[in-house]
């Protein structure tokens, strides 16, 4: 009996998939440790975890949208816009609390708008969020007028730069939202309904699930997480510019795809996305350590997204043929 079959009898399919990915993570760490002395240093590892944490925060919300067979292309622009708003609120009021509320609020508001575009106007998610991407892009640039806002109150900066027992706060946030995300998807009825919607929206609707309401929820959460990620990012960088979020879109999608979320919906987990974020960050970290020009990173991320989608399609076909 093959290994995979043996494993599948003891563990659920999801756990097995996660296991494979963790093996990849370990293998990559081993390979990088061999390839470069700089890898296994404390500062580098913390750095990797920080980056992965930030990426995970955005990608976790995005995962929920992908579970419903949708896509939120505006998450990065959402982060950018929210970050700019937070920055100016922080500068004008000096209150970290108001800043945080603005960030989450802005993120959720943008997310809800996406949700309404998809459910009320019946725009396909890809197109609706793509349009939203450009609208937000434009608004952020206009709002910032080419300038930068920097210098935030120290209380606020703790979110991104602070430490607790020697571990950076963002990493705690990562584990916190891993737990929340897991709980939401695995231990609430909303989670079950979201998986059902992704697996077969027609059957979900005909089984009495309020599909439209859940879709708005999912986009709102995705937006909210983008807002949260904006806070962390801002706190770390201590400055805000209009294009702050742009480079994060492809990596976020990549993290979800590597993590096993299928763009056709109904398949994927928050923990998978976490591991996906780790794997992607390790790849980029490795490129840095090996002195590869940073300009190659977007290209590599694009290739990874396509490779991940292709693998997803091939494995889907294979299991369908096996029927």
């Amino acid at each position: 009996m093959s290994v995979s079959l043996a494993l599948r009898h003891r563990f659920s399919a999801g756990a097995v998939a996660l296991g494979y990915r963790l093996v990849v993570v370990i293998a990559m760490c081993a390979a990088l440790a061999l390839a470069s002395d700089a890898f296994f240093t404390e500062s580098n590892l913390i750095n990797v975890l920080r980056q992965a944490a930030l990426l995970f925060l955005i990608a976790s919300g995005l995962t929920l949208v992908i579970l419903t067979a949708g896509l939120d292309l505006s998450v990065a622009a959402n982060l950018g816009m929210s970050a700019c708003l937070v920055a100016s609120v922080l500068k004008s009021t000096g209150s970290p609390l108001l800043g945080m509320l603005t960030g989450i609020g802005s993120g959720v508001a943008i997310g809800c708008t996406n949700g309404l575009l998809v459910t009320a106007l019946r725009l396909p998610p890809f197109i609706a969020t793509y349009g939203m991407l450009w609208v937000l892009h434009g608004l952020s640039y206009y709002y910032m007028a080419g300038g930068t806002i920097y210098g935030f109150p120290p209380g606020f900066r703790e979110i991104g730069s602070g430490y607790l027992f020697g571990v950076p706060i963002p990493i705690y946030l990562m584990f916190l939202f891993l737990a929340i995300g897991w709980f939401f998807t695995a231990r609430t009825t909303y989670g079950q309904e979201i998986y059902a919607i992704g697996a077969n929206p027609t059957a979900a609707r005909l089984s009495g699930i309020p599909v439209k309401r859940r879709l708005v929820l999912v986009y709102a959460v995705s937006g909210g997480m983008a807002g949260l990620a904006a806070l962390v990012y801002l706190a770390r960088l201590n400055s805000a510019e209009a294009d702050i979020g742009e480079p994060l879109l492809l990596p976020a999608v990549a993290a979800c795809v590597i993590g096993g979320a299928s763009l056709f919906g109904g398949v994927g987990t928050i923990s998978g996305t976490l591991v996906g974020a780790l794997i992607l960050t390790l790849v980029l970290n490795g490129m840095n350590l090996l002195q590869v020009n940073a300009n190659w990173q977007p290209f590599v991320t694009g290739v990874i997204v396509l490779a991940g989608v292709w693998i997803d399609m091939v494995t889907r076909k294979r299991t369908e043929d096996r029927l």
Binding site: F126, Y130, W134
Partner: protein, 321 residues
């Protein structure tokens, strides 16, 4: 069809004629009138020529985008691809290759990415949005990587003549635009390829049942886009006088808006090529007009973004009888 009393026919006929006139004509008219009134420089000959020249590049992207959208797909990599081709063109020139060789290289790059898009969408069956999202990232990344983030300059001597010279007195950008339109028009309405574009969007099974290798033509649609991006790279490089790694990022958005506003439907295999031309003018007019009014380009994007949402909404309404 019931007969109607002659007197009652008149208002009916007028209304029918109004309804039959494509929406984009109204939009264009509205925009021209609006900007003409608010800005005195708008309707000057020099300005209108300016709009024409600038729209040429967008037109060269919007025409193949029309084909893609008619086939129920979408190509969001065209902007990044155009950028990459422009960079390739500039790099080749800087290395001492003549203009023809450089242009050939640019087109080759465009063709390669177009082929990749086509294969992903029709053979591997990746949803077009996702496939072109991936290739967009790759193209964008490559452009950044090979230029190290810097513009490629020092090519003025090669590209200057493009913007200043002409073919039989026609400025080169306009010549390119006219040529592209002529080519696209011929392809869509006078070749099997064009008929099959309608079929892939309208009823792909009919094509397969007729024994046609639908995949081949489906790939061809994206290859067409890639090649046009390669050719348009010449105009872009000439205009910016350099190979800038982010020059045309996002231009595909304007192209999609132009196609949508022009009346091409996203889901029925229905398309109007001249509508795209009008749509391109509409976008060009909007940008130009807003410029003259001092509206920063960032906000221009917002209004164009809203335009596409409106256009898609209207398209959705048209589809649901």
């Amino acid at each position: 069809m019931s007969e109607m009393p002659t007197l009652a026919v008149q208002p009916r006929r007028l209304r029918a004629a109004l309804a039959a006139t494509p929406g984009v004509a109204y939009i264009l008219l509205l925009l021209v009138v609006a900007f003409g009134m608010t800005s005195k420089d708008f309707l000057s000959g020099a300005n209108l020529l300016n709009i024409g020249m600038q729209s040429a590049i967008l037109l060269m992207l919007a025409l193949p985008m029309t084909f893609v959208i008619m086939s129920e797909g979408l190509d969001i990599s065209l902007g990044a691809l155009l950028t990459l081709c422009s960079v390739v063109l500039a790099l080749m020139l800087v290395r001492g290759n003549g203009l023809p060789v450089a242009l050939a290289a640019a087109v080759a790059v465009g063709l390669a990415f177009g082929l990749a898009n086509g294969l992903l969408v029709s053979v591997v069956n990746v949803p077009p949005f996702v496939a072109t999202l991936g290739t967009m990232g790759m193209a964008q990344g490559l452009a950044l990587a090979v230029t190290d983030g810097q513009s490629v300059v020092g090519i003025s001597e090669y590209v200057q003549p493009i913007y200043e010279g002409g073919i039989f007195g026609v400025p080169i950008p306009l010549a390119f635009a006219l040529g592209s339109y002529a080519l696209s028009h011929w392809l869509l309405y006078h070749t099997r390829f064009g008929s099959y574009v309608f079929a892939i969007g309208g009823n792909r099974e009919a094509l397969v049942l007729a024994g046609v290798r639908a995949n081949l033509y489906h790939i061809g649609i994206y290859v067409f886009g890639g090649c046009m991006a390669g050719m348009a790279a010449l105009l872009l490089t000439a205009r910016t006088n350099s190979g800038h790694p982010t020059a045309a990022i996002g231009m595909e958005f304007d192209a999609i808006v132009a196609v949508a506003v022009g009346g091409t439907s996203f889901e029925r295999g229905d398309g109007w090529l001249f509508g795209t031309v009008l749509g391109v003018f509409a976008v060009g007019v909007m940008r130009n007009g807003l410029n003259l009014l001092g509206v920063p380009s960032s906000l221009q994007v917002v209004s164009i973004g809203l335009l596409v949402i409106v256009a898609l909404f209207v398209d959705g309404l048209k589809r649901r009888p």
